[in-house]
Symmetry: C2
Subunit: 249 residues, 2 copies
């Protein structure tokens, strides 16, 4: 079989990927995807994405042990335990905890993909691991794969497109057929690969984060293939793949 | 001043670029943009884009001297003088003539941009010339520049995105600020530049044209910067820039 690999530029088009029955790889490099991956890799039990602050506060009232994490305008909202800086999510802070996470842009694509059977969280940090896992699942389930870029405030973002290319670059089965959008993402990544931080820094969102004092977050987010962990979103929460599907390959 | 340079992935979003008041660079590499450029460069007086076959036939009834050109499903429609193969548009066929051109995808972005003051036709063949002209006009008029990709049947096309990058690569004033989409196009082009035909051949539309026997058209369309002519769309017809604006620089 051939795995059809496609891409949606905007979170609002997540439904198109869901409609195709594809495995969905949600990408939000800066910063929620990177934050979720780092939190789970550092031992957090699960991350529950919430669309609104109200939803987050409500979840905490029901589960007082949950930690609230996220941002509005780049800053930690009132009453939250953690912001959206991946480096805050240390073992000491998050081990064994369930996090509720809500961000301006990053959680919309996740929440919109909740009816899909297979949803993975991909960033630069786990690009290769996500590619391998997505291929395995797509071949086993005979489904396609779609990247969905979270973008920033509904707009296309360069860093998420680059990341789609980084993941596409990791497809190794020789069974993947890339759409024009995925071909473009792959070319962009190959051109940027040798100076990933420098190229990500040209993105509007990265510039904005640097101005806000989050340069370290951008640099950390560009650590290509540093992790082998793959977050999966199912039943309303995100957990590492092996935890959610112990019987899978 | 800084020239804001943006991009619309799809012809149906042409109105967003028009709404910004930008100079619009309409891109349809395969094949209508290349065909129009070649026809005008070979001496055609003007090309009138038409959305439908009916509109084309109607224009000919009114102006029996017009030549009808274009395609449906890649083939020359009934009663047409010329198809949509740029190589058909020789001096012998088109010199001094006005053409009516209607294609499946290529003419939609043109027609949708008709209320914009400045609309240029950019392809690989005239990428550098279009970049220079667009910069001159944008600086003089203090407006932005938007690329609009014609795509294929309403979908994103790799070759048009690559071409936007080729044109962006020609901006030389140091006064252009590229959006994330334009940055991505530029990176794609730089990666593909040394094997432009090979990379364009990966595009779905190019594959399809090759299957239909139009490989020569694809190769010709990839002749980067072979021409210095710039078609401009104004008052419902496309003419070479110097013919339409003799007093401009």
């Amino acid at each position: 079989m051939v795995i059809q690999v496609d891409l949606e530029f905007l979170a609002r088009d997540t439904g198109k990927a869901v409609g195709r029955g594809d495995l969905i790889i949600v990408i939000d490099v800066l910063r929620s995807g990177t934050t979720i991956l780092n939190a789970l890799t550092n031992g957090a039990q699960a991350a529950v994405p919430a669309m609104t602050l109200e939803e987050a506060y409500k979840l905490r009232r029901k589960h007082p042990e949950y930690l609230l994490a996220g941002e509005r305008g780049g800053q930690k909202p009132k009453g939250f335990d953690l912001g959206n800086s991946p480096l805050e999510f240390t073992c000491q802070r998050v081990e064994g905890k369930t996090l509720v996470i809500t961000t301006t842009s990053g959680t919309a694509a996740l929440v919109r993909s909740k009816t899909a059977k297979w949803v993975l969280v991909g960033v630069f940090l786990n690009a290769l691991a996500v590619a391998r896992k997505a291929e395995q699942i797509a071949i086993r389930e005979t489904i396609g794969v779609s990247f969905v870029l979270s973008g920033e405030k509904g707009r296309f973002s360069l860093e998420d497109f680059l990341c789609a290319g980084a993941i596409a670059n990791g497809f190794a089965s020789g069974k993947a057929h890339f759409s024009d959008k995925v071909q473009a993402a792959l070319l962009v990544f190959k051109q940027a690969e040798n100076n990933l931080i420098g190229n990500v820094m040209k993105a509007k969102h990265a510039e904005h984060l640097v101005q806000q004092g989050f340069k370290g977050d951008v640099a950390f987010s560009c650590s290509l293939n540093a992790f082998r962990t793959v977050p999966m979103y199912a039943d309303g929460k995100i957990m590492l793949y092996q935890q959610t599907a112990p019987s899978s390959p």
